[in-house]
Subunit: 387 residues, 2 copies
């Protein structure tokens, strides 16, 4: 009895020494694993009553616990950021103001270039660089018509990270990487994740069915998608879709993600360039107020509004895809999200809008998610079986 | 420096004493929180270098950590089980063999009475009671035509727990509770969760869009649904939909669940009464192989097969709901899941089938989920920020 108690105590002391040692070697590493806690939990494998290893603790527990001593958060290292929270690049919503605010708060801000003319992107890059000295990224939809001009601007302004989406990652990944740019691709299935990895991307974003805007045909939710992608990919995994809180971030980490990409929550930030009417519509959205539609064209999750009802009617009348394209017309997204036309505009937002109830500065959002994430981790650690 | 190190060490010793004390008071409580780990983490709030509280740790951390000393897993206490893992009551798949195997392994097994004649249910109850001395439950679809006969059997065999679904919880909750039965209701939205709570249920199961079989109209995924339900309900929350592993279980706990209900994984168990052909179809299902359909009638998630394609064609031809009812006909679920007709049968299974690759004894499934859950908790605890 006494021997085991002493042994456990000495393990704890050793843990503290190791922790100090490690802090001396890599004093500024963010989000790393805590070796001392690992050892502490290992010590607990020893049964408090019977003075021998507790059979209720699986044999592999110490290995899992020890692994923590060597593993870092690969996304923080890759992007050179403090907190593995990425703000999604969103058309009409994420310009330089939002991106720089998120980067300044220790996350990764992304300028959504999909809704910008080449000249507009250049202005945003200039202003973003003036507003932050921290790394930020550009989201590049690979089907963008003037993509070469966008890439020229990215190279000229030495943007360190590019998130590509909506297209074949094989097309530009190597070109960008040859210029020293970190490339991340957004996917909605394990199949596309494998393709992206084969193309040489540095990380993938796996985005589930609950996400706003354009979405995958498989309708796989984040909870199921993350382990599917994790199974086949060795590059770091960023979770997206349905994440607006620290608890959801912890859930994503439990499923193997090393960072989260948050979209909808940042639409309702002070720095987002979304129209105030759209932001207000996000705040008042409840459960079931968004739905995936236009599955015959490109599936997209929209807030239900008169335009959405028009689509529903067209479906009920058995309209052809051509007819749907005609109804959709052009410039609907700008009309809805940027100009605030809640009737006739296309309002792209995620299911998680049902949880968003306030407009806040982006830095506050980053810090709230981060704090809740850590609180949740502590609670999770405390849950370890104590029979 | 030395003072703080000593203070931290003494906190750790105190933690150990508290842990022993608690083990003496409630030696057999399962899945409880670990007060020692809480204190240990609290001690870490003290900055190792500067000898004062680490500002990187939020002020509320110790409160979150300490809460662990008082909180138990309410689902384990409510059901009197060891592991908060519930096997979903599934038509044609979960008879007495599966339910008793899960209960014997420390989880909660459920007999799915929705596909049973009253006489068949009585046989299953008898055999289940002979096969296990542990608690098990019956799933009762509230729209079942002979529900009174089922309830009589449940009372006669003194079944301690009933899971109700597919109907108004106000109808039978009080009647069952008056007989000392624990009542749990399955919901797909926060709105219905509130109704169930008002009806007096002891817990709710929140089932997301990714789940197999019948499903909600809002299409809310588990990741978004759990926090929405948690916001409005004070009764314990059981997560369902998309959960087949210990990592997914940990994700559900991060979102506030106190237990998980696992369906699809147990379809592919040795004790499930699903036809072997259906079990094999589940094993070979990949991502995107299930889809929610029949939204005009009752939304249901099915594995894509020739019958499913028939429905797709009917939709493309703009068929009326009446026509759909005609195509559906009667007995499709039995034909597919119980008799193994993979062409013409209705094959109800969740998205998570894409992750299921083996048929195993139910006890092994319970233990694997439980072990991985604990390993994930340890890893999560280790992730606590160490900048």
């Amino acid at each position: 009895m006494f021997f085991w108690a002493l042994f456990r105590l000495s393990l704890q002391v050793l843990a503290t020494v190791l922790c100090r040692l490690r802090a001396a070697v890599a004093p500024r590493v963010a989000s790393s694993l805590r070796p001392a806690a690992a050892l502490w939990l290992w010590a607990f494998r020893l049964h408090p009553e019977r003075g021998r290893p507790n059979p209720k603790y699986p044999l592999l527990l110490p290995i899992f616990a020890f692994k923590g001593f060597f593993v870092e958060n690969r996304i923080c290292s890759l992007f050179n950021i403090e907190k593995p929270i990425v703000q999604a690049g969103m058309i009409w919503c994420s310009g330089w103001e939002l991106a720089s605010a998120v980067s300044n708060a220790g996350g990764l801000g992304i300028i959504g270039s999909g809704s910008m003319y080449p000249e507009v992107l250049r202005q945003h890059l200039e202003k973003c660089q003036a507003a932050t000295s921290k790394p930020f990224a550009v989201n590049l939809p690979l089907l963008y018509p003037n993509i070469e001009q966008h890439i020229d601007s990215i190279l000229e302004f030495k943007v360190p990270i590019v998130f590509t989406s909506a297209g074949n990652p094989a097309a530009y990944t190597q070109k960008l990487k040859a210029q020293g740019i970190t490339v991340v691709h957004v996917v909605s299935s394990a199949k596309f994740a494998l393709k992206a990895q084969a193309a040489g991307v540095d990380a993938v974003v796996a985005e589930g069915f609950e996400a706003g805007g354009h979405n995958g045909r498989e309708e796989t939710t984040t909870l199921v998608l993350l382990p599917l992608v994790k199974q086949v990919c060795s590059v770091p995994l960023i979770a997206a879709g349905g994440i607006s809180t620290g608890r959801a971030m912890a859930a994503a980490f439990a499923l193997g993600a090393e960072a989260v990409q948050v979209g909808s929550r940042f639409v309702a930030s002070e720095e987002s360039s979304a129209h105030l009417a759209f932001k207000s519509a996000v705040l008042s959205a409840g459960e079931g107020d968004t739905l995936l539609t236009l599955k015959e064209l490109t599936p997209v999750r929209l807030l239900k509004n008169p335009f959405f009802q028009e689509l529903v009617q067209a479906y009920q009348q058995g309209s052809s895809p051509e007819k749907l394209v005609e109804i959709l017309g052009r410039g609907r997204a700008k009309k809805g999200m940027f100009e605030g036309d809640l009737d006739q505009g296309e309002l792209e937002i995620g299911q998680v809008s049902a949880l968003i109830r306030s407009i806040k500065p982006a830095a506050d959002i980053v810090n709230e998610i981060w704090t809740e994430f850590q609180q949740t981790l502590v609670c999770m650690g405390n849950l370890v079986h104590n029979a």
